[in-house]
């Protein structure tokens, strides 16, 4: 420890030394003196020193080393806040910008994970001060700063409920707000230069860096956040800032969203950039941010086509925040299209194949109930927008690829509705009334596993297919118009029902046997229990009657078996009804 005189002596030496003669030890010592000041709660003295006219030489040469201890002090948020801030401000105005940037960058990179938001919030205003002092290479430095800050920012968890946002426990919202403030002067500069028509390469570079910043922010944190126009949260306001920045740097939204595949730069072409643009599409079309300055000339089908890429990106994710946005964007894009208008050749586009497949997977696998609900609504909306031929192709595709009885039964219901719709003379079409209908029915009225079909597993589909059959037989008048169709239909029906009956009787026999065995087993167990209660033997014998010992209690097993038998009864009664109708119609016509 040095005493005051020694310190004054060293300071005097430094005052008299030329910068090029200063050694690393000097820098280290200077930093130590500064740190000591702060640790002894004497930030005021340090500030005085830094502001002292006589010390400007020292400050200019070695001032940067004081940044780290000062910033640390500010983050701690002790009483010395004001002095430290003033000291940092002075440094940022006095020292060389390049050196300052170096030190500040180091501080960002070394951010303590427990103090990320505090560090960012402390550093951003000072970073801005330094960057605004730069004459050349400003763009590159701004870019580096934004990139470094964003790297730290993306470590913070994104609040997802209003409560979480209000609490802002990890400071993400405050950081985003601060970032928006940070970028403002640079955006203004670019705008000003554009307005005066004096943009040079440096300015173009700055625009590029700002664009990168916007794209990064769209992906993280905005894509994760819950953004709603009714709730103007800090993250919402941040989103608005981004949307407004883009046209300010002369990036048209239609260019970014619709025509970016034509673009040169690496900014645009990867799945990260797709996520950014997906978020952009969501903010524009669903949350309607800056929609009033978006050209109102594009055809709704074209908009849907372009958005499908982004919808696909979002629906391929497993994150709730992504899926929700994907579903909303899909619904919104579909709503602008007329019903029954999307042509079949659209389905040949990759995204038009992938999106429904992703949606189907969501419906069958996603554990989140409200997503499945919304998903089903959008699924139906999509179907409604397809024209007859496209519906036909889509139904065939789903029946062939979904492998899920619930989805299949839903499609069959749709087929029924389409047939009904097509029966009206103004809607007649060959896809649901003519020979083409048969290719669809062939997929509906069949049991690909034959007699090995698990009826219970396929129950939904089978019941729905029987309902469809019943419907067609009742409304046979219109369908009989094409004799070939009707003949084929009857053939398909007969084969299907024949096979189905066989399956039912096999299944029923099996389950009845199981039920009987269960009852026998129960009787036996009861008898053993009574015997054991009576006897005084200490050894108990446990008899296991069947090989497969189920986890279910006998009562539950009984229930399951009973309900299986009831299901078979249901199916059979529907078949009987169908045959009744067939006979009725036959007798009517003869």
């Amino acid at each position: 420890m040095m005493n005051e005189d020694q310190v004054n002596a060293i300071i005097q030496t430094w005052r008299d030394t030329q910068e090029e003669d200063l050694k690393p030890e000097d820098y280290k010592q200077f930093q130590n003196l500064g740190s000591t000041c702060l640790s002894e709660c004497d930030s005021e003295q340090l500030l005085k020193f830094i502001q002292d006219e006589k010390n400007q030489g020292i400050v200019k040469s070695m001032g940067c080393v004081l940044l780290a201890p000062l910033v640390k002090e500010v983050i701690k948020k002790d009483k010395s806040l004001d002095h430290c801030q003033a000291a940092i401000t002075h440094l940022t105005k006095t020292c060389r910008p390049n050196e300052l940037l170096c030190s500040l960058h180091e501080l960002i990179e070394d951010t303590d994970p427990g103090a990320i938001s505090e560090t960012i919030l402390t550093l951003l205003p000072h970073l801005q001060t330094v960057l605004l002092r730069l004459d050349e290479k400003k763009a590159a430095c701004v870019g580096m700063a934004l990139s470094a800050v964003h790297k730290q920012l993306s470590r913070l968890p994104v609040p997802y409920t209003q409560k979480q946002e209000d609490a802002d426990a990890y400071g993400l919202c405050r950081c985003c707000t601060a970032l928006a403030v940070f970028t403002k002067p640079f955006i203004e500069e670019v705008k000003r230069k554009d307005a005066n028509g004096v943009c040079n390469t440096e300015d173009e570079e700055l625009k590029t860096e700002l664009l990168k910043f916007c794209m990064r922010s769209l992906r993280e944190p905005l894509l994760e956040a819950e953004l709603h126009k009714d709730r103007q949260s800090p993250l919402w306001l941040f989103a608005v800032e981004i949307m407004v920045t883009l046209p300010a740097i002369k990036e048209s939204l239609s260019g970014l969203l619709f025509f970016s595949s034509l673009r040169r730069s690496t900014v645009m072409n990867n799945s990260q950039s797709k996520e950014s643009r997906a978020c952009l599409a969501y903010l524009l079309f669903v949350q309607l941010i800056t929609i009033d300055s978006f050209p109102a000339v594009f055809s709704p089908v074209f908009v849907l086509q372009c958005n499908m890429e982004y919808i696909n990106q979002l629906l391929s994710s497993k994150k709730e925040s992504h899926l929700l946005k994907g579903l909303e964007l899909f619904a919104k894009s579909l709503e602008c299209v007329q019903d029954n208008s999307l042509p079949v050749n659209l389905l040949e586009l990759k995204s038009f194949y992938s999106v429904p497949q992703n949606l189907r997977q969501l419906l069958t696998d996603c554990p989140i109930h409200h997503l499945r609900e919304s998903g089903l609504q959008v699924f139906q909306l999509f179907i409604n927008k397809l024209d007859a031929e496209a519906k036909h192709k889509f139904f065939r595709c789903m029946l062939k690829t979904s492998n899920h009885t619930g989805v299949e039964s839903y499609i069959i219901k749709n087929i029924r509705n389409q047939i009904e719709f097509s029966m009206k003379p103004e809607n007649t079409n060959k896809w649901f009334m003519g020979m083409e209908l048969l290719s669809l029915l062939g997929l509906v009225l069949r049991l690909p596993q034959g007699t090995a079909t698990d009826l219970l597993n396929s129950m939904d589909k089978i019941m729905e297919s029987l309902n469809l059959l019943r419907y067609m037989l009742i409304r046979d008048k219109e369908l009989r118009n094409n004799a070939n169709v009707w003949e084929e239909l009857c053939k398909i029906k007969d084969e299907y029902l024949k096979m189905l009956r066989v399956c039912i009787s096999i299944s029923r026999a099996y389950y009845s046997a199981e039920l009987k065995a269960l009852k026998e087993d129960q009787k036996l167990k009861a008898k053993e229990a009574r015997d054991a209660a009576r006897s005084t033997r200490l050894i108990k014998s446990i008899t296991v009657k069947h090989e497969n010992v189920s986890n279910m209690s006998p009562e539950v097993q009984h229930q399951v078996l009973q309900s299986a038998l009831v299901t078979f009864d249901l199916m059979e009664s529907l078949i009987v009804r169908i045959e009744e109708i067939t006979d009725e119609k036959l007798s009517k016509s003869t």
Binding site: L288, I291, P295, A296, V297, S299
Partner: protein, 221 residues
Amino acid sequence: MAAEPTREWSEEQLKSDDLPKKDVIKFIQDNAAHSFLNEHKLLGNIKNVAKTAKKEQLIIAYNELFQSKRFKGTEPVEDVTEKVKAVKIDEKPKEVKTEVVDEGPPKYTKSVLKKGDKTNFPKKGETVSCWYTGTLEDGTVFDTNIPAAARKKKQTKPLSFKVGLGRVIRGWDEALLTMSKGEMARLEIEAEWAYGKKGLPESKIPPNAKLIFEVELVSVD
């Protein structure tokens, strides 16, 4: 069905050297069914057929035509083959536009405000750039890409897109193909060729709205 064609020439006239082969070929091509022409090897360019067919063959064919009465339109296959000939096989489209089914009258009107160069007309698939202002029938401006301050027009880019591919509302696609570079026109587009029954509520376009655009075609790719 059209009335049966009448014999133009007598036997004598046919055999005469004054009657060129080309005329006979043309007559038969104009009046015979496709399959008849095919059988008698009379399909294709008249000049080429004239090179390969002898006068005698043509006279025989001519007479057979009237004997068999296999005139155009007498075979049901006729219609299909005609249509098949007319259809161009497009390669798998990356562009998908909604099918143009009806051939009714155009659902827009155009009044030229400023003449273009009348030379550079955009073709389907070419990139066009436009300044435009869109208003509703009541005069509300719902969209424009012309900046308010005239000096700002230098830094703003006109709207660019590929025309004729269904990327924009149909009224625009159809109208722009009739405009030449530099032309400024006023388009009145009926809802059906604009945003139809749905409209575009967030852009202030109500359902079934007729749209009026002032469009200036700045450049053609």
